[in-house]
């Protein structure tokens, strides 16, 4: 915040009003841009609340003239071809389990890489970080065969486990652990604590923020995963929400109230998560850019 005040002082010495006027076009631009981002989402919501025949009527009614829940009721009632509620549940279970798995495995590994000494540590770290730049599709075929071998095809395990092998969590947490001052741990070591106790009682409590960030990012990544579930989840009942939406679009074609209702259902959880955890997400993203 010191930077900002410094910048304020260094602005051209125009008065407050002049400055405001100068910024007017910028404000206008930003407001216009906001409209561009928000309007489509509002349209999605609005369409989902209309009866189907109104969804394609012109001039477009941003506020529905008639409300109808038929979009939602169609997809929420038991529908063997497109069980949207089941998909929602699957996504929830998968994303939650995935997040837990990531937090558990990444935090322990990151701590070992940050603080412990063992043979091969540096090599391991380099190799792990290098995989960050390998694009996902390189693992696609191999992972499919492995998942098939384990019998996980068409089950949620296929979308929970493989993604947790990604290096981002380890990298992210290690950077954080390294930045913690060593005195706390050393003091604990002298007092006879072992590494596990230090990890659980000192490090983790101090890491609430990055852990929360990692949790939110992992949840989001898994919730939004698309290509992989499209190919490993097969039965209609096993799908998660994202590939399910693609199938919903194919099945309901021009029934836009149903399709948009599906979109709304898929969006609400992440938008709520975003509203609450926005700070973590954005800080997390910013940080990754600076590290690069």
């Amino acid at each position: 915040m010191t930077q900002q005040t410094a910048r304020a002082e260094h602005k051209d010495g125009r008065g407050g009003l002049g400055r405001l006027l100068g910024l007017l076009p910028s404000y206008a631009g930003m407001i216009l841009l906001t409209l561009v981002f928000v309007a489509p989402l509002l349209w999605m919501l609005s369409t989902s609340l209309k009866p189907n025949y109104l969804t394609t009527r012109f001039p477009p009614q941003w506020i529905p003239g008639t409300y109808s829940g038929e979009g939602y009721s169609t997809i929420l009632t038991t529908n063997s071809g497109n069980p949207v509620l089941q998909w929602f549940l699957n996504s929830l279970i998968a994303a939650s389990a995935h997040t837990v798995l990531v937090l558990l495995t990444a935090s322990t590994a990151a701590y070992a890489l940050a603080r412990m000494h063992f043979r091969g540590k540096n090599l391991m770290f380099v190799v792990i970080v290098l995989t960050l730049v390998i694009p996902q599709f390189v693992f696609l075929i191999g992972n499919y065969l492995i998942v098939q071998y384990f019998g996980w095809l068409d089950t949620l395990l296929a979308v929970i486990v493989p993604g947790a092998a990604g290096a981002f969590g380890v990298f992210f947490l290690r950077q954080f652990f390294v930045s913690l001052p060593m005195e706390l741990e050393e003091a604990a070591l002298i007092d006879g604590a072992n590494r596990l106790q230090i990890f659980l009682r000192i490090i983790l409590p101090l890491s609430k923020a990055p852990l929360a960030t990692l949790a939110v990012l992992s949840f989001l990544t898994n919730w939004n995963d698309f290509l992989w579930p499209v190919y490993v989840l097969l039965s209609p009942k096993s799908l998660t929400l994202q590939p399910g939406l693609a199938i919903l679009q194919g099945a309901y074609n021009t029934n836009y109230t149903v399709i948009m209702a599906g979109g709304v259902i898929a969006s609400i959880p992440v938008l709520i998560l975003f509203a609450f955890a926005q700070r973590y997400i954005i800080e997390g993203v910013s940080r990754s850019g600076l590290k690069g």
């Binding site: 098939q148 071998y149 019998g151 095809l153 068409d154 039965s235 194919g250």
Partner: protein, 446 residues
């Protein structure tokens, strides 16, 4: 296996997770469930079911208007057969042939399903589906209970893998109002080459493009396949080691299609399904399309249309058709009771397929086609007349995919006037030969 699988209700997510954890741990337990030959002889061949209550997962790709007809049959079966509960799942055909083999091989997915006849050898070779010889013999099904060509095409390596449900051929749809506008008799659709070309010419004179030629598989590819049969040719040789669609017959077929475009009877760049939309909007008079359009067209008010057998453009009669077949999946760790129950279901539906005909299909079973119910349908019997001269591709694994890598782009480029027919077909034949060779290598040892 007696694991309590046959609980008569759908497994929950938890069960799946537990089961797959178990499956992951106990991969080597090949003793679980029946081996392929055990399953193939399970039950009494479909005559009756005397086992414990089972529920079956039945998959098909009937996402459009066909679905409800099959669902009705399934519901009726469930109410009659108390110990078997069939639940139907529709998975669109585009992804069906990927999802089913993968799911079956992992022990998930369907217990039985529908497959197109040209996909049977591929899935048989992969061990995805079970042999059904005992069903055929127990039900005393013989070649002359069915259309011979479809009965024969369900066999691979001397074993039967499918029980045919229907045949869906390509037919000749004509828009009566457009014909009248051009001064043609709407109740006399042309059936010979001369009549057909004369009709097109007459329509052109009135500013009507009478036969929109599609460059896509639906319907240009199907049209080509009908025409090559009409000119006495075949797509492949008998054991599918060589492509023969670039023979004189093939070139004649494709050249006729291209000439329709060049002569102005068709727009130059027909988009996917545009020939259908134009037909519905009165801009297209003649459309060669599948029997499955009957119900959708009927639903359009004020559309005066009719259907006839394909006109004979070549030297003999010929038509394209495909066929839906029942198959039973060779699921990893499958319960023999379920297989026995599935056979009962198949037999039942096969006998009740008049209902299925209403969805816009020609039943494969002779007795059903001869029934009053079927004969009283308006258009299906017209298409049924083509049965005696439809042809299928050789029952060779991987054959369906060869088309996409070779013939499909060739027809596309020729109809779009980007390549001469002979050039396009020769190139495509070269690619097809390569694909056929790869397939043979791949499936040889299987």
């Amino acid at each position: 296996m007696g694991r309590g699988r046959a609980r008569g209700r759908v497994l929950t997510r938890q069960d799946f997770l537990l089961l797959s954890a178990g499956a992951g741990a106990g991969l080597a337990l090949a003793g679980c469930g029946g081996s392929q030959s055990d399953l193939e002889t399970a039950g009494s061949g479909g005559k009756s079911y005397n086992g414990p209550k089972v529920s079956l997962a039945f998959w098909n790709g009937f996402t459009g208007g066909d679905g409800p007809y099959m669902q009705k049959l399934v519901d009726q079966f469930n109410s009659e057969e108390k110990n078997i509960n069939v639940s139907m799942n529709t998975v669109e055909w585009e992804t069906y042939y990927q999802k089913v083999p993968a799911a079956v091989q992992s022990g998930q997915g369907p217990d039985l399903g529908i497959m197109h006849i040209d996909q049977l050898p591929t899935n048989a070779a992969r061990g995805v589906i079970l042999g059904l010889d005992d069903v055929a013999s127990a039900l005393k099904l013989k070649e002359n209970d069915f259309v011979p060509v479809v009965w024969k095409a369900g066999e691979y390596n001397g074993k039967r893998y499918g029980i045919p449900l229907d045949i869906h051929p390509l037919g000749f749809y004509y828009n009566k109002s457009v014909m009248e506008k051009a001064g043609l008799n709407p109740d006399q659709p042309p059936q010979t080459k001369d009549d057909y070309m004369a009709a097109l010419q007459q329509m052109k004179g009135k500013g009507i493009q009478g036969h929109w030629m599609s460059p896509f598989e639906f319907t240009g590819g199907l049209t080509f396949r009908a025409l090559i049969y009409q000119f006495g040719g075949q797509l492949y040789n008998k054991d599918a080691t060589k492509a023969t669609f670039n023979s004189d017959a093939g070139v004649s077929a494709l050249t006729w299609m291209v000439d329709v475009v060049k002569s102005g009877y068709s727009p130059k760049d027909v988009a996917q399904d545009a020939e259908l939309t134009a037909f519905q909007n009165g801009k297209n008079a003649f459309m060669w399309n599948g029997i499955w359009n009957i119900n959708p067209l009927d639903a359009i008010k004020d559309l005066e249309w009719g259907a006839a057998q394909l006109p004979q453009i070549g030297t003999q009669k010929g038509a394209w058709a495909n066929s839906h077949n029942f198959v039973i999946m060779n699921k990893r760790g499958q319960d023999p009771n379920k297989v026995a129950a599935a056979k009962v279901f198949i037999n039942w539906i096969s006998h009740h397929s008049e209902e299925w005909a209403k969805s816009g299909q020609v039943p494969a079973r002779n007795s059903v086609r001869d029934s009053q119910t079927f004969k009283s349908l308006q258009w299906q019997p017209v298409f049924a007349k083509e049965i005696s001269y439809v042809q299928f591709t050789p029952p060779v694994p991987g054959i369906a995919d060869v088309y996409y890598g070779s013939l499909d782009p060739a027809i596309n480029e020729a109809v779009l006037l980007k390549k001469e027919p002979k050039v396009a077909l020769d190139e495509a034949a070269g690619k097809a030969d390569q694909l056929l060779k790869e397939n043979k290598q791949k499936y040889q040892a299987a």
